[in-house]
């Protein structure tokens, strides 16, 4: 089983991103569980969402404390130690950042992927809703799921012109993600 934790701000689409990923993994025959952190939903406040996928049925209903991957939709969440708590060895970090993270080091984070999701989303969608772009960057960096399967997830939430725009944002995330391996 692999576990992914998404950190962002309300309105960036972290919860929808978790569902898109779940549909993509299911498309490839995996069992999935995706869910948000529960609370009063407020635009702009820190939010978290969670995804598990496995070849076997997923039974646990608890939150994710030992992620294999962290997806950071907003740079502000990089400041909190809790964001990185419990990272498993070889944890992948996917960050919305216009530039590579110079000098960044956290225990167990062995892969750092950066993508200018805010910039790409502004260009493709006309607004900084970064979730679809960063799911593309996730697929490009980890290769845990194919881009085609991701599009199946996108189709569940978007139609017509909005689908086209979000597919482009995800495609650019997939293509333009910068991956750095870290040796501790």
């Amino acid at each position: 089983m692999k576990e992914i934790r998404l950190h962002g701000l309300g309105g960036q689409g972290a919860v929808i991103a978790s569902d898109i990923l779940a549909i993509a993994f299911a498309e490839e025959g995996k069992e999935v569980a995706a869910f948000p952190a529960f609370g009063a939903e407020r635009r702009g406040s820190p939010v978290a969402a969670y995804v598990r996928f496995d070849d076997k049925p997923i039974r646990e209903k608890c939150l994710i404390y030992t992620p294999d991957c962290l997806m950071i939709l907003d740079a502000s969440q990089m400041e909190a130690n809790s964001t990185f708590a419990g990272a498993k060895p070889d944890c992948a970090l996917i960050v919305n950042s216009p530039a590579p993270l110079n000098g960044f080091s956290r225990p167990n984070i062995n892969l750092i992927a950066t993508i200018d999701a805010t910039g790409i989303s502004r260009q493709e969608l006309g607004r900084p809703i970064v979730n679809t772009c960063i799911t593309g960057a996730f697929a490009g960096a980890t290769r845990w799921v194919s881009f085609e399967s991701l599009v199946v997830g996108l189709k569940e939430f978007f139609k017509g012109a909005i689908l086209e725009k979000n597919t482009r944002a995800a495609q650019r995330g997939f293509n333009e993600v910068t991956v750095t391996k870290v040796d501790h």
């Binding site: 299911a26 069992e31 999935v32 869910f35 529960f38 609370g39 209903k61």
Partner: protein, 384 residues
């Protein structure tokens, strides 16, 4: 409704609310009564959308037929007076209850206090573990409620947020399969309000007539215990899935201690049971699916000879210094005549996560109890 609108068997990623909505849609209710207050869930919104798109041939206001409604937390509290009517009139209503704490102070969380407040209202109450079981139980609920031997309303509860907002891959059955499964109750003689056909409903009742109401209601409740298992066996024959009927036993056969629980945390408890088994602890699990009628006989049989019992739940029974399941189990096990150590663990209030570590702690304390170690009757896991 066109043929293209009929659901084919398919795998789909759905959250708990959508799973419930699919289950309801497949049962083709004639009437869905809606009382849209806060808190509300997206369950009914999915049904509105399908109705608007011509995918569901349902009227939202009517007076006869197969019915559905849904509620949640404070919504259930507000309907309390109405809640008592369907069982008394033997109306086979099916209702989803998306569990939330009913009691103030204001919070948003998935405790089970809402259903515990109404557990003695005369409904059949079933509580489920995951999204597939939500969908499947909705379908079985109609078969159970509308059975001429039963004619009682069924409340299907699932933990708010933890299940209502959890997306899982589920199998949605084909419309034709559900039609076949429900065929035995298709032409059941449902009570209806018809000005041309005089009928008395909810009239003033006293004395031995009221005794007759109560006597028959109680007897029907007892019949539910057998009927739940029969309905599920037929469900299994068509759909290939079953959940143990009244209770599900998990690795209990040679277990020396058993954890008992219900709802979403049962899945997490299974994970802990497997871990403890690998470490050599002889531990099992009983999942209580049907809370009303309480499966006292089945539970007592499953727990006979066990050395200690741990009860995990997220509700409180004021005045008993325990949760409700614990108190019910005490009553059910009274017939065993052997005082088995029983420890109660409460967790999950106010949105607190029910963690694997907390469950493991419950298992360890229960194991200690089986070895003669002293233990508290009630342990608040979040305060440990």
């Amino acid at each position: 409704m066109t043929d293209t609108a009929l659901i084919k068997r398919q795998m789909k990623v759905c959250n708990g609310n959508k799973s419930a909505a699919y289950g309801v849609r497949l049962c083709r209710p004639d009437v869905i009564s809606v009382y849209p207050i806060t808190p509300q869930t997206p369950l009914l919104e999915y049904l509105y959308e399908w109705r608007a798109a011509g995918l569901l041939d349902t009227d939202f206001i009517e007076v006869e037929g197969r019915t559905f409604t849904a509620t949640c937390g404070a919504g259930l509290s507000f309907m309390f007076d109405s809640y008592l009517w369907p069982p008394a009139l033997r109306l086979p209503v099916v209702m989803a209850n998306v569990n939330r704490e009913a009691s103030p102070p204001v919070q948003v969380s998935a405790g089970n206090s809402d259903m515990m407040v109404v557990k003695d209202g005369g409904w059949i109450q079933i509580h489920v573990e995951n999204c597939q079981e939500i969908l499947d139980t909705m379908i079985m609920a109609y078969r159970l409620a509308e059975d001429p031997e039963i004619l009682l309303p069924v409340q299907v509860s699932y933990d708010g947020f933890i299940l209502s907002h959890l997306s899982q891959k589920i199998e949605i059955p084909a419309q034709s399969e559900v039609d076949a499964f429900l065929a035995p109750v298709r032409n059941v003689d449902r009570p209806k309000l018809d000005p041309d056909e005089g009928n008395t409903f909810a009239s003033w009742v006293r004395g031995t007539l009221l005794v007759e109401f109560y006597y028959k209601h109680l007897a029907a409740m007892e019949r539910v215990k057998r009927k739940v298992c029969e309905v599920e066996e037929e469900f299994y024959n068509i759909f290939g899935r079953r959940y143990g009927g009244l209770i599900e036993e998990y690795r209990t056969e040679d277990a020396e201690i058993v954890l008992v629980s219900f709802g979403s945390e049962v899945g997490s408890i299974r994970v802990v049971i497997d871990k403890k088994r690998e470490e050599g602890m002889k531990i099992g699990l009983i999942k209580v699916r049907v809370f009303r009628p309480f499966p006292a006989e089945a539970i007592a049989k499953a727990l006979r000879g066990k050395k200690a019992i741990g009860v995990l739940e997220k509700n409180l029974c004021w005045g008993w210094n325990s949760g409700h399941l614990f108190m019910e189990l005490k009553a059910a096990l009274g017939e065993l005549n052997t005082p088995t150590p029983m420890a109660n663990f409460v967790d999950g209030f106010g949105g607190i996560d029910v963690t694997l570590e907390g469950i493991e702690r419950s298992a360890d304390i229960t194991w200690g109890a089986s070895q003669g170690k002293p233990f508290e009757k009630l342990t608040w896991i979040p305060l440990e």
